[in-house]
């Protein structure tokens, strides 16, 4: 499982961010994870307490927003969700496509004081 290493990197980025801005307490962290990324939200959630154990983010709540994996059809321009239509465009059956979203792994925001 690769989530732990990546979640520890997230914790480091957020800790640095908070320190630079003189933030003493991060109440909540919000991540955005694309549904086509190799990060599984439930695993990320499971790793979180372990990744922040003993650090300044211990006790910070983690919230995850899942972003849809959408593509735009190269033939007709229809936008569709890849997980529902792996084999091609539901409107015209075209297989040329461009990925619009779904691979993100973003630190969106924190709730802090």
């Amino acid at each position: 499982m690769h989530e732990l290493g990546v979640v520890m990197e997230v914790a480091k980025v957020v800790e640095d961010f908070a320190r630079e801005r003189g933030i003493s307490k991060v109440e909540k962290l919000v991540l955005q994870i694309g549904e086509l990324s190799a990060m599984i939200p439930a695993y990320v959630q499971d790793c979180w307490p372990c990744a922040v154990d003993g650090g300044s983010l211990e006790g910070t709540r983690l919230e995850i927003e899942v972003l849809p994996g959408n593509a735009v059809c190269g033939a007709c321009g229809a936008v569709y969700r890849l997980l529902e239509h792996r084999e091609g465009c539901p409107a015209c059956a075209g297989t040329e496509r461009e990925l619009l979203s779904g691979r993100e792994f973003l630190i969106k925001e924190i709730l802090a004081c």
Binding site: H2, V13, R21, F105, E109, I110, L111, A112, C113
Partner: protein, 234 residues
């Protein structure tokens, strides 16, 4: 207590690795050292293929090998005995290599005099595709027993590679792997990826694979030479 506020960060977690990978690739470009990131599932035939490759290019190109696949020195030793410089990276249970680990591996290997380093990435088709190692090119080995439906199950891997070696084609009669169907599925995800059917066991197709490597190493060096000349004119 009610002074909590939302602070936007909007930062990609992969950003740090992508920057470091870009820096490593640029540095390798300046030095004309070609780095191939080779990915696959366990048992697909990476070590057998590497041994064949070393043999095919012996006396012509000097190869180095970074073995990242599980902490066992067996594969590194076999490659070393075949005549290539090789080290085993101890990845401590990680499921992918990133650019920083790759850079440290290259330093530990020592790259003076080498034309090409092949990074045998950790045997896994999911996480390795998400982390740019800084390699010049990426390739994967898919072996016939794994099935031609792998692009449907691991689309991202097939999207990021420049070349797919379909290995163990000597076993095609025993499996329902359909090369035509595989090519179609791959083309849908990644039209510019090359496909080379090979057998590391019988040696079939190894000539075409060696040619591909020669070509890529050659153009990587040529580009480095041109950059060197441009630099020299300043």
């Amino acid at each position: 207590m009610d002074s909590f506020k939302v602070i936007e960060i909007k930062k990609s977690v992969f950003e740090g690795n992508e920057r470091r990978a870009g820096e490593l690739r640029a540095e390798l470009g300046r030095r004309g050292l070609f780095l191939l990131n080779l990915m696959s599932s366990p048992g697909s035939g990476k070590t057998t293929t590497l041994l064949r490759t070393i043999e095919a290019l012996r006396g012509e190109l000097d190869l180095g090998v970074l073995e990242a696949d599980i902490d066992s020195d067996v594969d590194a030793r076999a490659v070393h005995e075949a005549g290539a410089r090789a080290i085993q990276l101890h990845t401590g249970g990680m499921c992918h290599l990133d650019a920083e680990m790759t850079r440290r591996g290259l330093e530990a290997l020592g790259t003076e005099g080498l034309d090409c380093v092949i990074l045998e990435n950790i045997g896994n088709l999911i996480c390795t595709a998400d982390f740019d190692t800084g390699a010049s090119r990426s390739a994967m080995i898919l072996s016939v027993p794994e099935g031609d439906d792998k692009p449907l199950k691991y689309p991202h891997m097939f999207e990021v590679v420049d070349l797919v070696l379909v290995n163990k084609i000597d076993a095609l009669p025993l499996f329902d792997f359909d090369l035509g169907r595989f090519r179609e599925r791959l083309a849908r995800l990644n039209p510019r990826a090359r496909v080379l059917p090979v057998s590391a066991k019988t040696g079939e197709g190894m000539g075409a694979w060696a040619d591909w490597l020669r070509g890529e190493i050659g153009s990587w060096k040529l580009a480095a030479g041109r950059r060197g000349q441009e630099g020299g004119r300043l």
